[in-house]
Structures are given as structure tokens and as C-alpha cells.
């Protein structure tokens, strides 16, 4: 209830801050580099006579343009996965700001987010501040020039997109079940998402391989925990069943995940997922 109230206040505040009509977004996450957002995922299973299980990886955001190079979002996210060995159940709500600086090339894209995080499994509440940076070069569409954040061509057969970013995460845990978990953490962050797929002019195969790697290192950690290094890998294949105009699509996705993501309280583990992804 407290979380819902916070979320409503955030959305109302965002409306007051800027009166331009907002764009509503539903996607996996809002913090950090949002160049290739994953669609939201929802799964609910209730076995007869048994406990229910969930996979919810979703965020709702209201996006406002402040000017032609800066946009502001108010967001709420819910990440719940009871299908894995170390259960995740986390609520987030906050604000995000994206700004694209430099009129000429290369352009610099900066993403900042400030949010409240409630880990309902560990009974930990925290305030998080994150920042991420990525770069955009002028795209001359030459074969075999592999710039980030654009579509690159590998010969006439394959296309490659990769979205790297670097950044930081500051976390202040102010409410915890035990005092040893209380404290402040500052992490350095490196991320890269890669997507590889066949060139449709060569072969009309609706298959894509993706690999998402994130690495975090605790530069400062005043809690009693000493796991400073956090790597997270998600890799798999998406097959597009249906593609409508622009971004609308239905995909079957099979992926393998290994590692931990402390930002959304995903603990160290590995698992496979097969899911249906719907993007509108």
C-alpha cells in the first residue's frame, strides 16, 4: 500500500513538473541505457493444491519531453520470480532523466535515475542513484564499420547491433532485517547488449541471437557483506512469430541467465527461460 501511494505521488508530481502530454511506456526496466528495452514479461501459475508461482519483470513509466534533447520519466517497476532457486521480489519507483549532449558528432547520451527500492524477500529498503553513459557516432553505413548504437553490417549476410554503456550505482540501504546489511554502496558499472541477426535481403529468417552482459564492482561498501564483484549474463535466441508495423511483434524466446544483479535484488544463480514476448 505504501508503495502504491509512493507510485501515485510520483506520477502526479511528474505531471505537475511538466505539463506536456506524457507518453506511457510498458517495458522491462527504466533505469540506465534504454536503447534496446526488453518487453515486460508476465507469467502466473497456480498448481492444484500447490502454491502459486510468478514471473513478473515489468515496469510502467510516464515519459515527458523537457526539450528536444532531454526527457524525464516517472516509473514504477516490479520484479518477481518465484520460478528460480533464489526467489526475487522487488518493487522500485522513481524518476529518470535522459539527455543527449553535443550538437555535432559524436553525441553523448547520459541517463540518470533516482529511485526507492524495496526488496520484499530480504526486507531491505534502499534509495538508489544510477548514472550511465553511451556514445553515438555519425552513421555512414559503410560495411564493416562497427560503431555502437547503430545497425552494423557484417558483409551482406549478417547485421549486428551492440549497445555498450558505462556508469555508476549508489545505494543507501536505510531499512534492513538485520543491521549488518545497512549501509552505503557505490558500484562501478559496465554493460553491453549485443544482437546478431541475418540480413533479410540475404535470407528471410526471423531469428536473432542476443547477449546481455553486465558487470558491477563495489568500489565502496559499508555493509557487512563482502561480495564486491557482480557479473550477470543473459544470452539466448528470439524467434519472431509475427511482426506488425514498426515495433509491434510476437516472439518466442529461449535464454540462459547466470549471475546476479543487485540493482533489482537478483541473487547469484543460473537458470533457463522459455517465454513468449509480446511487444506493442
Amino acid at each position: 500500500m505504501k508503495f502504491m501511494n509512493a507510485l501515485i505521488i510520483l506520477f502526479l508530481a511528474a505531471n505537475l513538473v511538466y505539463s506536456q502530454s506524457p507518453v506511457i511506456k510498458v517495458q522491462n526496466a527504466f533505469q540506465g541505457n534504454s536503447q534496446k528495452p526488453q518487453p515486460a514479461t508476465f507469467t502466473f501459475t497456480k498448481s492444484i493444491g500447490g502454491a502459486e508461482s510468478f514471473l513478473i519483470d515489468a515496469g510502467l513509466g510516464l515519459n515527458f519531453d523537457i526539450n528536444s534533447t532531454t526527457s524525464f520519466s516517472a516509473f514504477g517497476e516490479y520484479h518477481r520470480n518465484s520460478l528460480v532457486s533464489k526467489i526475487q521480489n522487488t518493487l522500485l519507483a522513481g524518476f529518470a532523466l535522459e539527455t543527449l549532449i553535443n550538437h555535432d558528432y559524436p553525441k553523448h547520451d547520459l541517463n540518470f535515475a533516482a529511485n526507492y527500492n524495496n526488496n520484499l524477500i530480504d526486507k531491505t529498503e534502499a534509495v538508489q542513484l544510477t548514472g550511465e553513459y553511451t556514445i553515438l557516432f555519425y552513421d555512414e553505413s559503410k560495411l564493416n564499420t562497427f560503431y555502437p548504437n547503430v545497425v552494423c553490417h557484417i558483409g551482406n549476410v549478417l547485421k549486428l547491433e551492440y549497445y555498450p554503456s558505462i556508469g555508476f550505482e549508489c545505494e543507501s540501504r536505510f531499512q534492513c532485517k538485520n543491521d549488518s546489511a545497512k549501509g552505503n554502496i557505490i558500484r562501478a558499472l559496465g554493460k553491453c547488449k549485443l544482437v546478431l541477426y541475418p540480413d533479410s535481403s540475404f535470407i528471410n529468417l526471423k531469428l536473432e541471437y542476443f547477449c546481455n552482459f553486465e558487470y558491477r564492482y563495489d568500489a565502496v561498501n559499508s555493509t557487512q557483506y563482502s561480495d564486491f564483484s557482480h557479473a550477470y549474463l543473459q544470452t539466448g535466441i528470439n524467434y519472431t512469430i509475427w511482426k506488425g508495423e514498426d515495433k509491434a511483434s510476437v516472439k518466442i524466446s529461449g535464454s540462459y541467465s547466470k549471475g546476479s544483479n543487485p540493482l533489482i535484488s537478483l541473487k547469484e544463480q543460473e537458470f533457463y527461460t522459455i517465454s513468449l514476448l509480446v511487444q506493442i
Binding site: V23, S34, Q35, D65, S68, S71, E98, L100, S141, K159
Partner: protein
């Protein structure tokens, strides 16, 4: 675009004068066709189509004015507004194509008016970068208006980009 209006007004009055055998001075700026300038005759409408198409082709050789467009026109003022809007759309389409060339090297002459961003392979960040270039176009007409990044990300191609820019400068 307002500095083109006197030129368009002169062309419209000259064309109507030639069709109806009247002098330029005898046609008021706000003349209505229903009042002694009846344009229901198909030959008269064809002449309007020919003259207006010639004018439009000065801005884009592939553009033309249709019989249906001219049949709907009700008077001098209506003709001026119609031609000014068509010229404005041609100019903005040209500027939008130049803006796309600033994000991805595609010469404007190689882009059709219906080209889509997915065919051009623009990524989300490239579409966001377009917002600043579209804002440059908008601010030529309306200094305080802008196009935001979330608006440019939602665009699908040249056609709806032109529509958005024209809406913003209204």
C-alpha cells in the same frame, strides 16, 4: 512561408482572370467563385489544374495538383491557402530528408516521401538524435516550439515526420 503569399495571390488572380476573361484589378483578394466567377465547368477546373501544377513543379518536379483538389476550392483565398500549404509541405519534406541525412548518411534525393525508419535501419538513439534536427526546422517558423525525443522515437518515417513538424508550426 508568409513571404510567398503575395506571389501566390498574384498567380491565383492571374489564372482566374485568364479563365474568366477578367482583369486582375476586378478580382478582389477574397473573391468567392460562387459570386460571378463560377468554376464548375470541367474545362475551367482543368485550366486551374494545369496552372497550379506548373507552379507546384517549381518546388518539386514530381508533385502535381489533382482535378479533385481544384474542384474543392471555393475562392481566391482558398486557392492561396491550398497552394501555400502544398509549397510548405514540399519545403518541410526537403528539410526532414536533410535532417535524416544528418543522422545517417542517406542523400535526400535517395529518400522517397514514404520511406520508413525501419527500412533506413535507424536505431532508437538515432531517432532520439533526430529530435534536435527536427526542432531546428520547427524553430525557423516558431522559435519556442520543439520536438521531443519521445516524439521522434515514436515516428515511423518521412511521412509522419513531415506531419508532426507541420502540426508543431501551426
Amino acid at each position: 512561408m508568409s513571404d510567398l503569399k503575395p506571389q501566390i495571390l498574384a498567380l491565383v488572380k492571374k489564372t482566374i482572370g485568364e479563365i474568366k476573361g477578367k482583369t486582375l484589378e476586378s478580382i478582389p483578394d477574397n473573391a468567392i467563385f460562387a459570386n460571378n466567377l463560377e468554376m464548375s465547368n470541367p474545362d475551367d477546373i482543368d485550366k486551374l489544374v494545369t496552372k497550379f501544377s506548373q507552379f507546384i513543379r517549381n518546388y518539386n518536379k514530381d508533385e502535381f495538383v489533382s482535378y479533385g483538389d481544384c474542384k474543392k476550392l471555393k475562392g481566391v483565398d482558398d486557392c492561396v491557402k491550398f497552394l501555400a500549404q502544398r509549397v510548405e509541405k514540399i519545403e518541410i519534406t526537403k528539410l526532414v530528408k536533410e535532417a535524416i541525412n544528418k543522422v545517417k548518411k542517406i542523400p535526400p534525393e535517395k529518400l522517397t516521401d514514404t520511406a520508413t525508419f525501419s527500412a533506413m535501419e535507424l536505431t532508437t538513439l538515432q531517432k532520439k538524435a533526430l529530435a534536435a534536427y527536427y526542432t531546428e526546422i520547427v524553430q525557423k517558423y516558431k522559435p519556442n516550439a520543439f520536438i521531443g525525443m519521445s516524439e521522434s522515437v515514436a515516428l515511423k518515417g518521412v511521412e509522419d515526420s513531415v506531419k508532426l513538424v507541420m502540426e508543431r508550426i501551426k
